[in-house]
Structure formats: structure tokens, C-alpha cells
Symmetry: C2
Subunit: 364 residues, 2 copies
């Protein structure tokens, strides 16, 4: 596993064949899923359509058309690529509506999470609640959930009902994950265990990525154990993604992440590397706990950069960075193992592996 | 129609055979649907289960068991009674899960509406957001919507998919209705038309009552035109209910409504009789517009009761009360006409007529 990561580090993003393959898959996904999404959203009543079109980047706040920047479409890409890996091009084609449904669920949770977390920026634009208010952002999210499950209810494919049941169960898990996340952020830095934060990350990030892969497998007519293996593949991939996202949130290059350096630390976020560090029992853990107990910015702006650097160093010295990278590698190994159980032929697994590598190797 | 209402007024609530029949139907509905609801809610993750059990009145805020006061179950009663009317006892039995799904959707909207409207009391208890906070009330609502559509996705009955598609489309309409309601409350009293407020009431109240009846018809295997007639029956019944609810909100006996007299007027709510009065072009309409333009309570507590009485009188003199009662009677006539298209035998329509009379004749 260590060699895998070492080798991966030697490749630069642009030249990696996997990275190129992933980019092609994502672009092709957008081209096939966007028309389904637009069709569904255009059928909404005017008030809900307007908010959805803004959120997806297809309209400006004043209702004029916009170029659109509706995210990377990783989840629908996983639906289609899993369907193709297990059932060929016909299964991919059959799963288009389900891919749109998964993307709608993802965006419903983004609309609601932004309201709850008071996040003001999403995909480089003001979040919907800052433009339309809390009420309309909540209602648009509710409508997108209904639209997603309604799409599947209208789909005559035999996989539609089990896919819908899985997606509905996944929404419940996403809600529990978001609850755990917000509840955890209100607790003291010493009160959160590593198990808790891993369970939360699996519910909040792993569940929908696993569900996307499982839905693709269902549309390929795969047997139950392959659907379960694809779900497990996605969950492990999702956790690896979250671990690396958290590492980037602390040590990533602000020019590439688009977020100020150390903003997660400034917000005292109990991210995975931070909780690993806090629970490490090292002297650096005590130092980190002390820093986290103080509200950020207490010492004035001149000290802020220095404080963030000290905090990041404490996480690193307490082993949080290494732990997260070893965990991420371990999760990727588990993901590949699960995938190999359902898709024995490496050629057929290629697309899913490219997406796995894409989501877990960004700007670290 | 006038005779219908006159006759209805002569009957007192307790002695009316329809009222007794409705009470029996509602009690029987609770007895058959509550176990389905409990089963679904008990399967939620702990954090979401706790909020749902509180909202349904099955637990106190501290998690200890409560007697439960989970509403009147009118919507699931309509599902089951429509199924029985068109398909007999076997259809009623088959529709139990769908009835629970409709009740879950209703309760998801209550959880979210209470957050948006900042309502602090629901079924004589503090609303969920006042106990658990906005975030958890929103998440529990999201989870209940998923639970509802998930129940239908797991139901092997051939009506489950079309019922799920209808219920999902209904959620979208409910969202648009709630949007219109909140947007309208922010506008000036002279800026709202009667058409707008009728459309809003149909979306917010009529849609789910119509959907409940249509879902029952689907589980009875009824042909498309009967499903549409049952939907129209429920929509008209829902509008009649809303009209009478609005009349009660102004002239109802506070001892029977549980709300202070004239609280809708004090809140300057643009209810149906108020908008009818405001748009009547009468001198009383101008007086009402002037009263509504002033914030309530401006003149001190001693004047409040007098002001509410003056406002109620202005609505009445501008014809708002008569209009609402004539409209309600008209909607009930339309409802009965729609019902007779799908259920020719009055004996089979009896249960639905009893429920129609129950919801439209409370404490007026």
C-alpha cells in the first residue's frame, strides 16, 4: 500500500493516465446526466425551479442564464461507471435517470447543509440561502429530494424500486451523519472519539458514494453480493476521500483549494486528522487541546497566521497527518479489494479505479 | 347547497351520525396505521428516531414514553377509506403502508413549516425546533420524507410505484404552496389577489388531501379517471376545510379552537376571508386595509381586544365571512360531485362523505 501511494505521488496530476480517464468519464457523465437533470428541474413550479437553477449554476440570482458550474458530478459518474462495469453500455444507458436522482439527492443535502452550517460560499458562488433566504433554500432542498425519488418511482426499470429504497435509506443515514457532525462541533475537543468521527464521516460522505455505486450495480442486474461489494467499495472510497479532504483542509495549497490556509483549524473543526491527533495521548495532543480550547483570533490578527501554523504543527507532531494518510491508503486498499470481489477483470474495473484515484488524489 | 349547510347546522356535533362514523373511522385508522408508523420510525438511527418520537407525541423531550397525541390521522383515514370504497376490505388492508407514508409526508411538512413559520406550539406541545433546535428539526423532516418514499419503494404492491410518483409530485406542490404562503405574508395587504391565495391554499392543503384519496384509489386498482376523480374530491374537500378553518380562525370560540380569539387577525394573516374582504371593493375593504397596514398592538393592550373586534367586523362587513361560507359550500358540492363520478353507490361512498363532513364542520 505504501508503494501504491509513493508511486501515486510521483505522477503529476495532468500526466496521469487515470486522471485523464477520470476527466473523460466526468465530462461524459455531465453530457449525459445534465439533460435529465434539466428536464426534471424545468418541470418544477416556478418558485422552486428558480432556486434549483441558481443552485446548479444554470441561472444567476436575477434569473438570467449562467454558464453553469454544477460540481464535478462524481456521484452520477459512479452510478454510470458501476452500471457499465457490471452490465456494459446498455446498463449505463438504463441508469441515466438513477444517476440524475443520486445527483439531486446530493444537491438537496448541500442546500440544507449550507443553511444549517451557515456556509456562505458553494462552488465559488453565494449559497442559495444567502440569496433566497432560509425558507426557500429549505423548500428547494425538500423539492429536490422529492424530485429524486419521484424520478425513480416513474422509472419502469426493474432496478428502480430497489434503487429507490436504497437511496431513501441513504438519505436517512446522511441526515444522521449531518446531525452527528453538527452535534460534535458543539462539544469540547476532548469529548470526541476517533470512532465517532469515523462513523460520522462514513454516514455523511461514504453512504451516498456507496449508494451511487450500489445503484449502478442494481441497474446492471448484479446479484446481491456484488451490489453489497460495490456499496462497500464506495463507502471505503468515500472515507479515503474525506480523509484526504481533511488533510488538504489543513496543509493544502490555498491557491489550489480555493480556501484560506488552515481555515478548518481556524474554525476549530473536529476533522479526522485533528481528532486522531487529539486522542493520540502525546504531549502534542495536550498542546493542540489547549489551542482548540481558545477561540480563534483571540490574540489579534498579527498572531493569527502564527497560531494556525502552531496548530497545524501540533496536529502533525501528534501524528494526525500520518494517521490520516495511512488510513486513507488503507481505505483505498479495502475499496480495491471490495471492487475486485464484484469485478474480477481489471479492464472492466478501470473506470471505477480511475474515479477512485481521482477523488483520493487531488492537491496533496 | 344552501339547504345542505342549513341542515348541517341543525345537527349538533355529538349527535350527528356522520360525525360518529368519522370518529370510528379515525380511531380505526390510528389502530391500524400507528403500528406501521412506529415500525418505520423505530428503524431510524437514534438521533432521528428521538426527534420523530417526540414530534409524534410518543416520547417526552427527555426520551421517556408519552401517551401520544399524533393528530387526527385524517390523511391516512382518507387513503384507507378511499381504498375500501373502490376496492373493498382487501384494498384497505393492502394500503396500510401507503397510508403510513402519506402520514409521514404530512408530518415532515409540519416539522419544516414550524421551523419556517417560527410556530412554537403544535398539538398542544412545544414544536420540535423549540426543543431540539432548527438543524435537528430540519434533519428529522428530511428523514421522514425519505422514510415515506422508502416505505413505498419497499412495497411490492403494483400500486406502490404510481403512488410513490404521485406522493413525490405532491411534495413538490406542497413546497410551492408553502413558498407562496410565506412570500404572500411578506407582501402588503393590497398586493394579494384572491386567485393567488386560492391557488396557494390548494397547493398547501388541497394537494396532500387529494393525493391521499388518489393513493387509496390506486391501491384499489381503480382506473385512471377514478383516481383523478378521487384526487379532485380530496382537493375540493381540502379547500373547503381550509375556508372553514380560516373562518374559525377569526370567529371561532377560543375555548374550542385552543387559540386566542382573532389570533390570525392579530398576526395580520392573509387568510381566505381576509383577502376576499380586502379585494371586495367595499368601503369596509378600505377600513380593513388601513387596519392591516398598522402593526398589531400599536395602541397598547387595553385597545387590542377592541381592535380585533373592529377588524373582524370589517372582514364581515366587506363580505369576507359570507364569501368563505358560500365558497366552502360550493367546494363541498364539487367534492361530492367528483366522488359520485368514481363511487356511484352512496353506501360505498359513506365513509368518505363522513370524513368530508367531519373536516368541514367543526366548531363553526
Amino acid at each position: 500500500m505504501a508503494e501504491f501511494l509513493t508511486e501515486a505521488k510521483h505522477r503529476t496530476g495532468a500526466q496521469s493516465p487515470d486522471r485523464h480517464e477520470a476527466a473523460v468519464i466526468l465530462e461524459r457523465t455531465r453530457a449525459s446526466v445534465d439533460p435529465e437533470l434539466r428536464l426534471a428541474i424545468d418541470a418544477l413550479p416556478g418558485s422552486m425551479r428558480r432556486i434549483a437553477l441558481y443552485h446548479f449554476g444554470w441561472e444567476h440570482a436575477d434569473g438570467t442564464p449562467a454558464a453553469g458550474n454544477p460540481g464535478k458530478a462524481i456521484r452520477p459518474a459512479l452510478v454510470l461507471t458501476a452500471a457499465a462495469a457490471l452490465g456494459g453500455p446498455a446498463a449505463r444507458e438504463a441508469a441515466l435517470r438513477a444517476a440524475a436522482a443520486v445527483e439531486l439527492v446530493h444537491n438537496f443535502t448541500l442546500l440544507h447543509d449550507d443553511v444549517m452550517d451557515r456556509d456562505t460560499t458553494r462552488r465559488h458562488r453565494p449559497t442559495a440561502w444567502t440569496v433566497f433566504g432560509d425558507t426557500d433554500a429549505i423548500l428547494a432542498g425538500d423539492a429536490l429530494q422529492a424530485l429524486a425519488l419521484g424520478l425513480l418511482a416513474e422509472d419502469p426499470h426493474p432496478a428502480a424500486a430497489p434503487a429507490s429504497a436504497r437511496l431513501a435509506a441513504c438519505v436517512v443515514e446522511l441526515c444522521a451523519g449531518q446531525h452527528a457532525d453538527t452535534a460534535m462541533e458543539r462539544r469540547g475537543p476532548g469529548d470526541v472519539t476517533l470512532d465517532e468521527v469515523l462513523t460520522m464521516a462514513e454516514a455523511k460522505t461514504g453512504a451516498l458514494i456507496g449508494c451511487a455505486c450500489a445503484v449502478g450495480a442494481l441497474y446492471a442486474g448484479a446479484p446481491g453480493e456484488d451490489v453489497a461489494a460495490l456499496d462497500a467499495f464506495g463507502r471505503e472510497a468515500g472515507l479515503a476521500f474525506q480523509l484526504i479532504d481533511d488533510v488538504i483542509g489543513i496543509w493544502g495549497d490555498p491557491r489550489r483549494t480555493g480556501k484560506p490556509a488552515g481555515s478548518d483549524l481556524a474554525a476549530r473543526k473536529k476533522s479526522l486528522p485533528v481528532v486522531a491527533a487529539l486522542t493520540s495521548g502525546t504531549p502534542a495532543a495536550s498542546e493542540l487541546a489547549e489551542l482548540y480550547a481558545m477561540p480563534y483570533g483571540k490574540e489579534g490578527e498579527a498572531q493569527d497566521g502564527e497560531e494556525i501554523a502552531r496548530t497545524a504543527l501540533a496536529v502533525e507532531r501528534a501524528g494526525g497527518r500520518d494517521w490520516a494518510q495511512v488510513q486513507a491508503a488503507d481505505r483505498m486498499a479495502r475499496a480495491m479489494h471490495e471492487l475486485s470481489r464484484a469485478v474480477a477483470d481489471p479492464a472492466e474495473a478501470g473506470g471505477l479505479l480511475a474515479l477512485l484515484e481521482y477523488v483520493t488524489r487531488r492537491s496533496t
